[in-house]
């Protein structure tokens, strides 16, 4: 065991004590931190009084009474979009506007009194239900799957209890950016885990040793995954720290529907963020595993990095319609896509051995299976290696 720990130490050293790794991590973390701080300090300067102003709305039900106050405020300034940041109703107005905007964009043909923008509890909640129904049809959910979501919806406490949650909303948004940057980090830093031995011309040395043929593939893989978790943590902290500094955990107990309106998970924002963090880390592991798989497959760091970058570009731009069924569902299970979804969540379910898995759960399972499959493939490819 001591030998494997010693080997692990050196493999970690190869990855971490590398100028390119240090540069890539510094630049990426710096970018995330810088963008968030710039937003708080320059673009949308942080308003210290926001929580005091909105304190009167905290803990109130999003019902007719609260919406009537919002409607009165909106009437003074010519509509929801006219409500200024210094108004205590600013963020509530933003929340309703986001839903109405989605409704107007995709809700053509939807019939409900929400169509005429009435600010009543009936219209707002009906609008949300209509949109959910539309989304279920758009993604071609079966009746059984729709019923599954409706059963989840019934667990959600209504009316929603309002809490100012823009800090949580921003934190949620940082997952996607961190994930995309992590893909770049994996391409730069993990593509050489196996291919680097050929690049350094140490292949012959290594393959002629006892552990070089036997266990080194696994030690390298573990080292790569440790790096993936460490780099992922650094990026996540860099993305989250500004939001935590300025907003703390305000809104952590708000219903998730106040962050992602068109989602039927019956969890609080804090519970969902914990799930996001788990999914994020599993995503880091699977991306790291893929980078190492390409590394041993091509035995060329540039080729391996290129494949990861290609994957990133395809993930950003490739669109598959929901009519393609499982193919489309799997395409949108990539870590960045799962973490990025903004005002609505992909509702497609996965049924595995009698279990019904929602997207975050499906993603976690798929990533775990892919990571293990990648490890098995790495083992097979590595052991067939020869020093040419």
């Amino acid at each position: 065991m001591a030998i494997y720990i010693e080997l692990l130490r050196f493999e970690l050293k190869k990855i971490f004590i590398n100028k390119i790794t240090i540069l890539a991590l510094t630049v990426s973390a710096g970018m995330l931190l810088g963008i968030a701080l710039t937003n708080y300090l320059v673009v949308n300067p942080y308003d210290r009084g926001v929580y005091e102003r909105e304190a009167a709305l905290e803990g109130r039900a999003l019902d007719d009474a609260l919406l009537a106050e919002l409607a009165e405020e909106a009437e003074k300034v010519g509509g929801l979009s006219g409500i200024r940041p210094d108004s205590p109703y600013y963020h509530l107005a933003g929340y309703i506007s986001r839903m109405q905007g989605t409704y107007l964009t995709i809700g053509e043909g939807l019939e409900s009194e929400a169509g005429n923008r009435e600010l009543t509890a009936a219209s707002v909640y009906q609008m949300r239900e209509d949109l959910l129904e539309y989304i279920y049809d758009y993604f071609r959910l079966s009746d059984a799957d729709k019923q599954w979501w409706k059963d989840k919806e019934n667990l959600i406490e209504k009316p929603f209890v309002w809490q100012a949650n823009f800090g949580i909303y921003s934190m949620k948004s940082s997952f996607g950016a961190a994930m995309n940057l992590f893909c770049m980090i994996a391409a730069v830093c993990l593509a050489g885990v196996y291919a680097g031995e050929k690049g350094y011309r140490t292949n012959s040395f290594v393959l002629s040793t006892r552990e070089g043929k036997r266990s080194l593939w696994l030690v390298k893989f573990i080292a790569g995954e440790i790096f993936a978790l460490a780099a992922g943590t650094l990026l996540l902290i860099a993305g989250m720290v500004p939001h935590l500094l300025f907003n703390g955990l305000h809104g952590i107990n708000s219903p998730w529907q106040l962050i992602v309106p068109l989602c039927a998970y019956s969890y609080t924002a804090g519970q969902m963020l914990a799930r996001y963090i788990l999914t994020y880390y599993l995503g880091c592991l699977v991306i790291g595993a893929m980078a190492m798989l390409f590394s041993v497959l091509f035995m060329n760091s540039m080729a391996a990095a290129g494949m990861i970058c290609l994957g990133l570009v395809l993930d950003l731009f490739l669109s598959l319609p929901s009519s393609l069924g499982l193919l489309s569902q799997l395409r949108y299970l990539t870590p960045a896509q799962v973490l990025i979804n903004s005002s609505m969540a992909d509702p497609r379910l996965l049924r595995v051995f009698g279990l019904v898995l929602a997207p975050l759960q499906s993603a976690g399972l798929v990533y775990a299976v892919l990571t293990v499959a990648a490890a098995a493939t790495v083992r097979s490819l590595y052991r067939r290696q020869e020093a040419q």
């Binding site: 001591a2 030998i3 010693e6 080997l7 050196f10 050293k13 190869k14 004590i17 590398n18 350094y200 011309r201 140490t202 292949n203 012959s204 040395f205 290594v206 393959l207 002629s208 040793t209 006892r210 552990e211 070089g212 043929k213 036997r214 080194l216 020869e386 020093a387 040419q388």
Partner: protein, 230 residues
């Protein structure tokens, strides 16, 4: 101790690098001579188990060289090799000691010993990327000797060494050859002339000549040049 090479061939798409070569090596130093492209490196890689023969078999004391137990007694210095630039010389040896299955304490003692032997103690904590070519070569030699190998395969080991280092190296190999099988390939005939008990000469993937060479047989270099001209 016996390293048996039995009708071993290695064929690539349109080239036969090693052609039905047979030889048996025993304790002592065997010099492997041949021009560039003769197949020496390919043969050595097959002996080390890092390249699979197209046909034939190589065994050590009856055990195929593809077995894990063989790699525990093997020391190998490739012809062209690199090092991890950010590792120190000491790190490099400790890493390979771990790859060879040596416990940490033993590895540290042995590494210090070998760094002393190859004259790299003063620079052992410096990064390998600061080493000269000769220093890297000496580090490679030290690596090959870490596990006190019973089979030591050295491919062009004196490349980059200055004359004094080459003399020291020959003495070291001569000592090791008393209790191990050493196969040493080189272009420089004088490297093997004085220390090799047995000579193999390769040309075009085939064994041109093999036998014992004693000082009384005359100049090995002249014999080598004569054989290759024919």
């Amino acid at each position: 101790m016996e390293l048996r090479i039995d009708r071993v061939s290695k064929q690539y798409k349109n080239k036969i690098a090693v052609d039905r070569l047979s030889a048996t090596l025993h304790t002592g130093v065997t010099g492997l001579l041949g021009a560039n492209g003769a197949g020496k490196t390919t043969l050595m890689r097959m002996i080390c188990g890092v390249l699979t023969p197209t046909s034939g078999e190589i065994t050590y004391n009856g055990v195929p060289v593809s077995e894990e137990c063989y790699r525990s007694v093997l020391g190998y210095l490739p012809q062209e090799f690199g090092c991890y630039p950010e590792f120190s010389g000491r790190d490099f040896l400790l890493y390979f000691a771990a790859l060879k299955g040596m416990p940490r304490n033993e590895a540290e003692i042995r590494s210090e010993e070998l760094l002393e032997t190859v004259g790299l103690v003063d620079v052992s904590k410096k990064r390998v990327r600061t080493y000269s070519g000769g220093m890297k070569q000496r580090l490679g030699i030290a690596q090959a000797l870490l596990n006190r190998p019973q089979v030591l395969i050295l491919d062009e080991p004196t490349a980059g060494l200055d004359p004094m280092e080459r003399v020291r190296f020959r003495e070291l190999i001569g000592e090791i050859g008393k209790s191990s099988i050493v196969l040493l390939s080189t272009h420089i005939v004088s490297d093997v002339e004085h220390i090799a008990d047995h000579i193999l000469m390769m040309k075009g993937g085939q064994l041109l000549w093999q036998g014992e060479w004693k000082e009384s047989d005359g100049s090995l270099e002249e014999f080598y040049l004569r054989e290759f001209r024919e």
